[in-house]
């Protein structure tokens, strides 16, 4: 396991209590993701893909083991420290975009910047840059309902990168899109990885989507069963 890894999981265990039963998702899981990597995580339902993203994003907590992102250990952080960690280090892209319907594209993208000390003009500049990166500068004043699914997902990507996080966590980002639009989104992610050096962890069921990643990890019953280079 390289010391230069952006993401490191060491001996991570995680389970869920369901009724009187504890279901183990991970047991003693190790993982290292170098900076600038683009990893696709595949696996059957219930294999732990989403739990893995939740743990990396500080949304859920480990039962045992440690998680480091960018050298910072996040498994022992408090709720408010985790909120600051997410605001400063992680961008999220969801399957169903999760844009705020009452905000314009620009306002949606600006949301994470409200957590920074940037002034109004600087925020506007960052928003314009992010929207340009996803080729939606001309849609800045449009509301989500006025945009297609692909455009909404690009706004979501702009929102994820606007505060310049090191790590992008994408949960089925093309699961709600047709093939052509999905490929556009994946190409955008690929550009972000290759040209802006964003480290991306993408959960997907779609082998075609996984091919856009540098490598694919297969999860089954909480263990990585196969690792291969995809690109």
């Amino acid at each position: 396991m390289s010391e230069s890894s952006l993401v490191r999981l060491v001996g991570v265990s995680k389970g869920f209590v369901k009724g009187q039963e504890t279901i183990s998702v991970f047991h003693d899981l190790d993982l290292a993701i170098p900076a600038d990597d683009f990893v696709a995580v595949m696996g059957p339902s219930g294999s732990g893909k989403t739990t893995l993203l939740n743990l990396l994003g500080g949304i859920d907590r480990v039962d045992a083991g440690e998680i480091r992102v960018g050298g910072q250990r996040i498994d022992g952080l408090t709720e408010s420290e985790l909120a600051r960690y997410r605001a400063g280090n992680v961008g999220f892209v969801f399957q169903f975009y999760n844009l705020m319907p009452m905000l314009t594209a620009a306002q949606n993208v600006e949301l994470p910047l409200l957590l920074t000390k940037l002034g109004k003009a600087q925020r506007r500049e960052h928003v314009e840059t992010a929207l340009k990166l996803v080729a939606l500068a001309d849609r800045a004043k449009h509301y989500p309902r006025e945009m297609s699914g692909g455009q909404q997902q690009r706004v979501a990507i702009a929102r994820a990168i606007v505060s310049d996080p090191k790590l992008l966590l994408c949960d089925e980002p093309t699961g709600d899109l047709d093939r052509a639009t999905a490929d556009e989104i994946l190409s955008t992610l690929q550009i972000l990885n290759r040209e802006l050096a964003k480290t991306i962890v993408m959960v997907t069921h779609d082998p075609a989507a996984a091919r856009f990643a540098r490598r694919t990890l297969h999860l089954d019953k909480g263990r990585f069963v196969e690792k291969g280079l995809a690109a």
């Binding site: 909120a83 969801f94 306002q107 994470p112 949960d171």
Partner: protein, 386 residues
């Protein structure tokens, strides 16, 4: 964009729902404003009451008379600095609908004692003392009927009649007085007791009540007890109290206005609290996923709590301020039509401040539970990722 824009956009995202909530809050604050102005106008007498002024009335109740002979006995009582007397006249001008508050008073002492409440130019006061049929009119009443000094006016009574059978007394306006304090009622007419007493057909040599000033407020109780003891076991026993207590008792005869206001406003506010609180709970449930997204982006639970509370406080303000504006307009209209019953009815700054306080309390109270729910909401649960 900032948090306020986010709060505002959230509040108005479902316009019909927002408007219905705003209207219900508006109505509650309009009711509050009007009733509070009404209650304040009723109780204004207590606010302007002087600490060293006592009121003596018949012990049975204040509508029963006292003998005029009591006046000199009270004047001579130790600790009494000055005393005056007055009679309720039950007046109206031309039409019984034009009700007037008219007192038949001892001119010299009465104008002396009320001198701290009203402004009576010296020459007008002298004219009032001199002229047997002279009347002093408050500026509110003068302006209402367009009266000026020198006007001869017929003032009728719905209680008293003259010996010749007429219910009308001819008077000459010798002065118009203003008020020293905004709470003072300047819708009053004063005329000479002697003129009234000599001409009326019944009740001669009786007075309605006396007002006195003690040499110090610290001896009020002693003087009051002494006077009541002096007239104990007579045909006309007295009840002496401070002016404030008298005014309070007078208002209490009409019912507990403050309690009525509190109950009506309380009922309106509790209803609004339940409606808005329940709606906000539904809204937070509807927005669970968005709250999860905000937290995922790095918004702390405390900030999400503030956003929800901010929304309910903004809702209360957006509904409450126009509500107070409506109350101000209604109060203005009522003030004109009820001037003879509750003069000085106004939405004063203290009511507006109380209203603003209520808005804050209502906003926080309706938002508290939904905000706590939003604060406690786990991202994984909110996003359906648990």
């Amino acid at each position: 964009m900032n948090d306020f824009v986010l709060i505002r956009k959230n509040l108005f995202r479902k316009k019909l729902r927002a408007i219905l909530m705003i209207v219900s809050i508006l109505i509650a604050f309009a009711i509050f404003g009007v009733l509070a102005a009404f209650e304040r106008a009723f109780n204004v007498g207590q606010e302007v009451a002087e600490a060293d002024r006592l009121v003596i009335v018949n012990k049975i109740n204040f509508t029963q008379p006292l003998p005029i002979a009591y006046f000199n006995r009270v004047r001579a009582f130790p600790g009494v600095r000055e005393v005056t007397h007055a009679n309720w006249f039950g007046g109206y001008y031309q039409d019984p609908k034009n009700v007037l508050i008219v007192f038949a008073v001892e001119p010299e002492t009465y104008t002396q004692i009320i001198g701290s409440d009203v402004i009576i130019p010296r020459d007008m006061r002298q004219a009032f003392i001199r002229d047997r049929a002279g009347a002093l009119v408050g500026e509110g009443m003068a302006s209402r009927f367009g009266w000026k000094v020198g006007d001869h006016i017929p003032i009728s009574s719905n209680i008293f009649s003259q010996k010749n059978g007429s219910h009308t007394w001819d008077m000459t306006i010798v002065g118009i007085f203003g008020k020293r304090k905004p709470q003072i009622d300047a819708n009053v007419m004063l005329f000479q007791y002697d003129y009234f007493d000599e001409t009326r057909s019944f009740g001669k040599d009786t007075i309605g009540w006396m007002v006195l000033r003690t040499t110090s407020p610290s001896i009020n109780d002693q003087v009051a007890k002494g006077i009541d003891t002096m007239f104990a076991n007579s045909s006309y026993e007295t009840s002496t109290d401070t002016e404030k207590a008298f005014n309070k008792a007078f208002i209490a005869q009409l019912g507990n206005i403050a309690l009525i206001v509190t109950l009506v406003v309380g009922a309106a506010f509790v209803t609004i609290l339940m409606i808005v609180g329940n709606t906000m709970m539904m809204i937070v449930r509807e927005r669970a996923r968005e709250i999860g997204v905000l937290k995922t982006l790095g918004f702390s639970s405390a900030r999400v709590l503030r956003l929800v509370l901010g929304e309910t406080v903004l809702l209360a303000i957006v509904g409450g301020l126009p509500g107070l504006a409506v109350a101000a307009a209604v109060t203005l209209m009522l003030r004109r039509s009820l001037v003879q019953f509750v003069p000085g009815m106004t939405l004063n700054p203290s009511i507006i401040l109380t209203g603003l306080g209520f808005m804050l309390v209502l906003g926080l109270a309706t938002g508290l539970l939904p905000a706590i729910n939003a604060w406690r909401l786990k991202i994984a649960v909110a996003m359906g990722r648990g």
